[in-house]
Symmetry: C2
Subunit: 164 residues, 2 copies
């Protein structure tokens, strides 16, 4: 029926500080969401646990309380900035109002993205192919692979186009 | 700009005899292709090499020439049937004309799907999460995983909904 415009869908987009996730969001806005859509776009940023940042220091002694507080603040600021930037892109690229919700969660991105997809009853999960930068990916494993294996709804993996 | 309706996109859908790929196609028709779209849908069926069917017989002696010919014919018939069934579904589910092309190729589905995605300059690749049944998957590996890793365009992985 090609009833894209008529149905209300919940589209969950995992956004992070990587450009790839911004590209995934813009691709989704241009290709999945139609002009007169009633879709709700949920922008999800997952802050990985602190263990990831301090992984090179297993002892916990090298980081003082202020440094940990500063890192936490930085991590919160980055998360706020990421979802705000993503929200702005939704307005810029989509010239009619679509409902945009933002969520910042904390935990292992692999688990949290899957849990939120389920919890929100998302119709589709959209994400970059990496989800996280090289070093974090080495520590966390491939987020997108994990999500493809574990979520029940369709998953759209968007890669950053290589400059050619 | 949410210019789904205005742009011409090439959407490659990998179809096979599994119900999952039929579900992927129907999800794509309902959620990605808008009503007044100029999209071209390319339905691709890849016939795996005969080695897969005769993998349990490494000697080549057990199968006579007629059996091999019969298997080949069966495999061709299945491929024809799969793409025809998929084409019919496009007409049934999409009440306006969209351009539908069909292709039957031969080879390792992982390689062929990636090559065709590149060759046709597809804007998005749509497929089921398995791509092939349990036994064939054990022999061929996960087709969708391979494609997510190797194609440059966005990949939409659609799972068959579990009856609950």
């Amino acid at each position: 029926m090609a009833d894209v415009a008529a149905r209300e869908r919940k589209i969950l987009v995992a956004v992070d500080e990587d450009e790839e996730s911004v590209h995934a969001l813009s691709w989704c806005l241009k290709n999945v969401i139609s002009k007169n859509s009633k879709d709700t776009l949920v922008l999800l940023n997952v802050k990985p646990p602190r263990a990831v940042f301090s992984a090179l220091d297993g002892t916990g002694y090298l980081f003082s309380a202020d440094i940990i507080a500063a890192v936490d603040k930085y991590s919160n600021d980055v998360a706020e900035c990421v979802v705000e930037k993503a929200k702005k892109m939704c307005k810029d690229l989509h010239d009619v109002d679509i409902k945009v919700e933002t969520r910042i969660e904390h935990g292992d991105p692999r688990d949290v993205i899957c849990q939120m997809t389920e919890k929100l009853g998302a119709d589709v999960l959209v994400m970059g192919s990496h989800g996280y930068g090289l070093i974090k990916r080495a520590l966390l494993g491939s987020v997108s692979n994990h999500c493809v294996q574990n979520v029940k709804c369709p998953v759209l993996i968007v890669k950053e186009p290589k400059s050619s």
